[in-house]
Symmetry: C2
DNA sequence: TAAAAATACTCCATAGGTATTTTAT
DNA sequence: ATAAAATACCTATGGAGTATTTTTA
């Protein structure tokens, strides 16, 4: 659990792997292609393992890269989903309280 | 998938939630208690949701916090496991190649 | 030869440290 | 009264931009 690699790097990796392109990943992440290239190279150095095979006009995943992609894709998807839920629950909870309270009708008071 | 919250924050959160203590989390992460406190407050502001209930000498998770803990704990555990595997595979692979290559014995050449 | 990726800088935002105050029992 | 969390202020590291070079089909 400790000694996790750079989470920023993993995030960039996941996007690059999904697009099979550093350029497209850069577009999605709203950063430059250079930033993506550096993040991934750094990751490869930290792991001491190649994650991509560099080809003409596209990159492809090595076996290690494929493995890491499955893992990071699921992990980040799950975190994104949970984050969404947490954020969207906070408003409904408030509205529930408001809707079920007879006090508000009774007094005519409105919250904000 | 986009609009992920701060991954650094989530990492700090997972450790703090596991220990139910910002101080112990700081120790595990080799940072100060102040750093942990700020990361978590930032997350709570980003989500606009409380994640911890602050008590005397310990903190505890809110329902949203519990939900986020399950998600982040699993996500980071999986990433850590996969990272370990990728790294540990690279050495055996290399040694296999080296060991099974008669060429190396033949010529006496050693890779770096 | 043309596109995508790698590299060499420079800069800045954000993560972290120190010192101190606040909180809760 | 005391231990943990919050806050204020400052520093520094690493992530990002621009410009350029290298790679490969």
């Amino acid at each position: 659990m400790r000694n996790l690699p750079s989470l920023t790097g993993l995030r960039v990796f996941e996007v690059a792997a999904r697009h099979a392109s550093f350029k497209l990943a850069a577009d999605e992440l709203c950063v430059t292609q250079a930033a993506v290239s550096r993040q991934i190279r750094q990751l490869e150095e930290d792991f001491a393992v190649d994650l991509f095979l560099r080809g003409h006009r596209k990159v492809s995943l090595t076996p290690a890269g494929k493995k890491l992609y499955l893992s990071t894709h699921n992990a980040f998807s799950d975190i994104a989903k949970t984050s969404q839920e947490i954020q969207s629950e906070s408003l409904p909870n408030y509205l529930n309280l408001y809707a079920t309270s007879s006090f508000s009708r009774f007094t005519g008071k409105k919250r904000h």
